[in-house]
Symmetry: C2
Subunit: 219 residues, 2 copies
């Protein structure tokens, strides 16, 4: 799993690779770029990872792991299930940003496209998506148990809601002029509150970056 302290070189290169992929895309990432960013020679990169494909696949895996670790870390701090769900949505819609997550959404687009042909990447994607679904599922279970949520099949909800968030992630990552981060966040939370039966009001404290004003929450 490449613990930074035990394998500093590997970790350093994986992080470099993550950044390069986010910038130039999976197919556009060159070992030279990774080497430059890590401050080493291209040959050393091959020395540690046998091939470019291997390096990139591992970088993808690590990036996903990082993302979910950050998600867990944040969720653990929040007492209510609704709050945890909101945090997940915020992360996915890039409303709250953090350096660790830089380029995560963009990486997803490459992850999906690459998963179509590369079996190793495909495995990472499947695992990652199931992880995401399970996270949602658990939050819903907790919410139902604690009396916050009601009237929903947790499994169907998890499937539908991850799809919804993936869809919003696309829009946000691509900087869609109609569906910006704020709009995506609001609509996603609106759907969740309605489906799960909890109260939620958009807080206008957040500054919007793009997207239309959400017109009147439905009656």
């Amino acid at each position: 799993m490449s613990v930074p302290d035990e394998e500093p070189r590997r970790a350093q290169m994986l992080e470099a690779a993550r950044q390069v992929i986010a910038e130039r895309g999976f197919p556009g990432a060159r070992i030279t770029d990774v080497a430059d960013r890590a401050g080493v020679s291209p040959a050393l990169v091959i020395y540690y990872f046998k091939s470019k494909d291997n390096l990139l696949a591992e970088a993808m895996r690590q990036s996903e792991d990082l993302w979910y670790a950050e998600m867990s870390r944040r969720a653990a701090k929040i007492p209510t299930a609704a709050g945890r769900l909101e945090e997940v949505v915020a992360m996915t819609c890039h409303v709250s940003s953090e350096v660790v997550l830089e380029g995560s959404l963009e990486l997803w687009l490459d992850l999906w496209a690459q998963a179509l042909r590369d079996p190793e990447v495909r495995a990472v994607r499947e695992e990652s998506d199931e992880h995401f679904r399970e996270t949602i599922r658990q939050i819903v279970r907790d919410g139902v148990t604690g009396g916050e949520f009601s009237g929903v099949d947790e499994d169907d909800f998890a499937v539908a809601y991850t799809a919804l968030l993936d869809g919003f992630a696309i829009q946000v990552a691509l900087g869609d002029p109609v569906v910006g981060p704020e709009r995506a966040f609001d609509v996603a939370m609106q759907v969740a509150s309605q489906q799960l039966g909890f109260a939620w009001e958009p807080r206008r404290a957040r500054r919007r970056t793009s997207g239309k004003q959400p017109t009147r929450v439905r009656g």
Copy 2:
């Protein structure tokens, strides 16, 4: 727009390019592949389209146009708004397949990933997505006017529902072991019927290709 009858060579090459992209992915598509498939020399491909990037971008545009043309064609045959919506969902979840649509979902993944860096592709994607949203919006408007649907903001619904369908398209395109075409279709229709307030029952006539049994999972 490259009408087949007026510009047979261009159209032939664009179709070849579409197939090659679907097979090898956008970055993996080589002009040699396109030339071979079209039965011409690589040089001729460059002769018609100035560059590879240009060819591929136009192929993407044409593919999207084809998809929406097919969608309109089908929708026009269906009298009820609920039926039209169901048809759109069926197309997106690949429940009903047609030769014309072969590889469309896979192409979307490449479209999104490529849109991150290529401005021309980005424009295609934005236009295409707005087109999709407008289609949904119009169906909802019709449904509300005709008394089929009620209690929904058409704009918010369109934004959310296209995101949902995009998300399902990913799962289906990647052959997710948990979320297959049938499951995606059922859940998507369930969400729609609930949000729009119309009756819908899963018909078990459709044959499933993958994915778990949709009703009653995990006891």
